[in-house]
């Protein structure tokens, strides 16, 4: 069910609303429907209804996300058994449900691609958001300059609240992407030697994002998409599926990484097309403790259409149509020089890219630091967070192995390796 969430921030917002206290009125029944009134920031409660057979959603809130956090919260509450069955839906919910089921054509209030063009109310909301984001970015820019003016040396003694406060203001400014980036920075001053340089780099890239947002008119549409998605403007899945040209290929499922942040688990699955040579990233989200999407199995090859989100360097994608999945051996790994060139080219389009898919043919080594080395003699360090990665080392026995992982400015994070004979090993 949580796979319905358009992004992690919606899910997080929904979780905080998914308690009985936020819903003075809530019920389920009338065929397959859930409805409720949610106390929000507005004077009157938002009215939310979900037709489970669709599923179709309706909410009186101004959010442009689809489904919105209220609809998600209602579903969470319902699936947790927090909503009792009611004999009849209130009039407003019943009317909408009749509309959905009656004519076959649900009343498309919002969020359905190919539906009506945005009405004046939607345009006004969009403009309001742009204004809020612009104000939030101006505030972020001031904050960043203050940090540099006063000196970063104090950051090591500052608690996480130092970043949480500015992050919270950016959430209010409807820039959740930036907020997440800022929250993650609280760990940097404790990330070992060289933290000062890493913190400055992150601050510099954040200011670059603020500057780039202001400079949007001078940029290409793809660059604008990149900037907006990094700030936290989401593109609906339905919109991606409707507008992107599907890329059909035999996608090798290379690697997977799950990250927990703020009660939300994010799963990153990396794919590589056999024909196109393109990399793709499929994201899924779940609450901590719940299971994540398992449909892409490491080591298999899936023949599928992928729809890429619009970006200067398109990586994130949705599986639009899946035709077939077969077992596969090891993919062909590249040399280190090739990886670095690819990454450099991508950075030219998107300087904020700090996680890049790596598929290498390398020998792990430990001197002078845990690293991997290729046939040309070049080496890349392992990410300090990936520890010593002894399993990768043991697997290689001093011979080259194919490794898939994430390349970051701090080093390679190995995730998958293929043993002799092609057996896939998750690290």
């Amino acid at each position: 069910m949580l796979a319905l969430a358009p992004d992690a921030s919606s899910l997080r917002a929904a979780q905080s609303l998914a308690s009985g206290g936020s819903w003075p009125l809530a019920g389920a029944g009338d065929g397959d429907a859930v409805w409720g009134e949610c106390l929000g920031s507005a004077a009157t409660p938002y009215r939310t209804a979900v037709d489970l057979s669709g599923p179709a959603y309706r909410c009186s809130c101004p959010s442009r996300k689809f489904p919105c956090k209220h609809a998600l919260a209602l579903l969470l509450l319902w699936s947790g058994g927090g909503i009792a069955n009611h004999a009849a839906a209130p009039e407003w919910a019943a009317t909408w449900l009749r509309g959905v089921r009656g004519g076959g054509e649900p009343p498309r209030d919002r969020g359905v691609p190919g539906g009506r063009p945005p009405g004046p109310a939607q345009l006004r909301r969009a403009q309001q958001r742009e204004a809020r984001v612009a104000a939030g970015l101006a505030e972020l820019d001031r904050w960043l300059r203050d940090q540099v003016r006063q000196g970063l040396a104090a950051s090591q003694r500052a608690g996480y609240r130092h970043w949480d406060e500015i992050a919270a203001r950016l959430v209010d400014a409807q820039a959740p992407g930036l907020a997440e980036r800022l929250r993650a920075l609280a760990a940097v001053p404790h990330s070992g030697p060289g933290w000062e340089g890493r913190l400055l780099e992150e601050y510099a890239l954040l200011r670059l994002l603020a500057t780039a947002y202001r400079a949007q008119p001078a940029l290409s549409p793809a660059q604008r998409d990149t900037i907006r998605s990094r700030i936290g403007f989401t593109v609906r899945q339905a919109e991606v599926l409707a507008s992107a040209t599907p890329v059909r290929d035999r996608w090798h499922v290379l690697a997977r990484r799950d990250l927990d942040q703020d009660r939300i688990r994010t799963r990153r699955v990396w794919l590589r097309g056999a024909r196109t040579g393109r990399f793709a990233l499929v994201l899924s989200f779940a609450a901590v403790g719940e299971s994540l999407d398992n449909s892409l199995t490491i080591g298999t090859v899936t023949d599928a259409d992928l729809a890429f989100y619009p970006a200067a360097v398109p990586l994130r994608a949705l599986v639009a149509t899946r035709y077939d999945t077969v077992k596969a051996g090891a993919p062909a790994g590249a040399a280190i020089g090739g990886l670095l060139t690819e990454y450099a080219t991508a950075l030219g389009q998107d300087p904020w890219l700090d996680t890049w898919p790596a598929l290498l043919e390398v020998t792990p080594a430990r001197v002078p630091l845990p690293c991997v080395s290729d046939a040309a003699g070049g080496a890349l360090p392992l990410h300090p967070g990936a520890a010593d990665c002894w399993p990768l080392f043991a697997l290689s026995g001093g011979r080259p192995v194919t490794v898939a992982g994430e390349w970051t400015p701090r080093g390679l994070w190995p995730l998958t390796a293929w043993a002799q004979g092609g057996m896939v090993v998750r690290l």
């Binding site: 000196g151 070049g378 011979r399």
Partner: protein, 472 residues
């Protein structure tokens, strides 16, 4: 550059560590005032632009347009330059150099199948860890090789549990082969395993207790006489722990030729050596001890026909004599043990050392029939005694009968469960195959269900290692 006040040694240390960070960051030996490096900006940003000027020099290879207009906030200028340098540094990264490790010699044995590798990973995460040694021994015995990616976790595990169970370290060394020795050469934490890699006679002369045992067991399997000679020759010099090990090795491939050695061990100075010798002798068909035990057992335990069918009745002896004690039948421990506790002890010890054939021959019934005969208050001790006998005599018919009995509703006393647990770890793993054993009765305790689960786990783990393994 002047140092900010009040920082002193901590500041110097921070600088020093940061300098290391810089070398790592830049990959260049020196970035002095002539060219602008990220580090110059980091230094300025640490102090703050309130107290430090923004460095302005150019950087080779990076074209920095003069973004700063007059009067612009120095902090903004610094951040913009840092952004450019960050992108340039990330994009311009060159590969480092590394020193490759030696290449490990190849192991021609096939690696275990992926399902078996997954099971090993589960065991290492804490699922039935006590079965690890059996699993490792089965891998080694079938000429298979351990999955290399799990060797680090196995070595850590063997290191932690080294004193408790030395056999894991030896089995990891054996089934891991050259890859284990290669890893041990690269991580001092794992060097201990090299001592477990001795082969042949060296293992006997210089090896650890576990290796000596393994050597002797292997020798016993293909030349029982040679093993017996080695034991006889080493007996006088061996400590009690090793003498127990000797006796337990002799228990495999037992023949009447072993009787003199074991009879002599009945007079050993250490009680647990005597006990073990008595158990092994009881398992030896035709041994004098087994005949003495059978004679006592027939006298003390009889089947009587009652109004509701047959029942077992015990006629305990008045006390123990020297001959009984020599054969391992000792009264209950504790000087003030009650008479009934004493009799329970005698009965238990007697049954535990009586050849199980005695009962089937005497009563003309199968093991399954005998264990089902009511025995009143004696039933728990009788069950424990039979469990011990089945364990030391490795009698699968009795093992099966006793496990079945436990599953079909008889309330187990605590001591019986411990015996059963031992039995289940030695039982033929085929008993764990689906539908071989009846499901436990509804009121069966959780601990019993757990024991049956152990049997199932053993069955599955050994089945995974059998014949055709998928990948070379």
């Amino acid at each position: 550059m002047s140092e900010p006040e009040g920082r002193g040694a901590a500041w110097t240390e921070e600088r020093r560590r940061s300098d290391e960070g810089r070398k790592h960051l830049e990959g260049a030996p020196e970035a002095s005032g002539r060219t602008l490096s990220t580090w110059d900006l980091v230094t300025a940003s640490l102090i703050g632009t309130e107290r430090s000027a923004v460095p302005t020099a150019g950087t080779p290879g990076v074209l920095i347009p003069d973004l700063a207009s007059p009067g612009q906030d120095p902090a903004a200028v610094l951040l913009d330059r840092a952004a450019l340098l960050t992108a340039a540094r990330r994009a311009g990264r060159r590969p480092d150099q590394a020193e490759l490790p030696p290449v490990c010699e190849l192991d021609s044995r096939p690696v275990v199948r992926p399902a078996a590798a997954r099971r090993l990973a589960r065991m290492l995460r804490g699922e039935h860890p006590d079965l690890l040694a059996e699993w490792l021994a089965a891998v080694a015995a079938r000429g298979l090789r351990l999955p290399p990616q799990l060797l680090p976790a196995l070595l850590d595990r063997a290191r932690r549990g080294r004193s408790a169970d030395g056999s894991v370290a030896r089995l990891v060394a054996e089934a891991g082969g050259p890859r284990v020795r290669w890893l041990a050469g690269l991580n001092p934490d794992w060097e201990f395993v090299l001592a477990e890699s001795l082969a042949g006679e060296e293992a006997w002369r210089l090896g650890t207790a576990s290796q000596r045992r393994a050597y002797l067991t292997a020798l016993r399997a293909h030349d029982p006489g040679a093993a017996r000679e080695l034991i006889t020759g080493g007996w006088a010099a061996a400590g009690p722990e090793e003498r127990v090990m000797f006796v337990s090795v002799v228990a495999e491939g037992l023949s009447l030729a072993d009787e003199p050695l074991l009879e002599a061990a009945l007079d050993d100075g250490a009680a647990f050596v005597r006990k073990m010798a008595a158990e092994v002798l009881a398992a030896l068909p035709g041994s004098a001890l087994s005949q003495r035990m059978a004679e006592r057992a027939r006298r003390w335990l009889r089947m009587e026909e009652g109004p509701r069918g047959p029942r077992l009745v015990f006629f305990p002896p008045a006390g123990s004599d020297a001959a009984m004690r020599r054969d391992g039948i000792t009264p209950s421990s504790g000087p003030r043990a009650s008479q009934s506790a004493d009799q329970t002890g005698l009965m238990l010890e007697t049954v535990a050392r009586t050849p199980l054939r005695t009962w089937t021959e005497e009563f003309g019934m199968t093991a399954a029939q005998i264990v089902a005969v009511p025995a009143g208050d004696w039933a728990p001790s009788l069950f424990i005694g039979w469990c011990r006998a089945a364990f030391s005599q490795r009698d699968q018919e009795w093992v099966t009968a006793l496990i079945n009995r436990a599953l079909t509703g008889w309330a187990l006393v605590t001591g019986a469960l411990a015996e059963l647990s031992r039995l289940i770890r030695q039982a033929d793993p085929r008993l764990g195959a689906p539908d071989v054993l009846p499901g436990p009765v509804p009121e069966a305790p959780l601990a019993l269900r757990h024991e049956i689960e152990v049997l199932r786990f053993r069955y599955e783990m050994l089945k995974e290692l059998a014949h055709d393994h998928g990948d070379g």
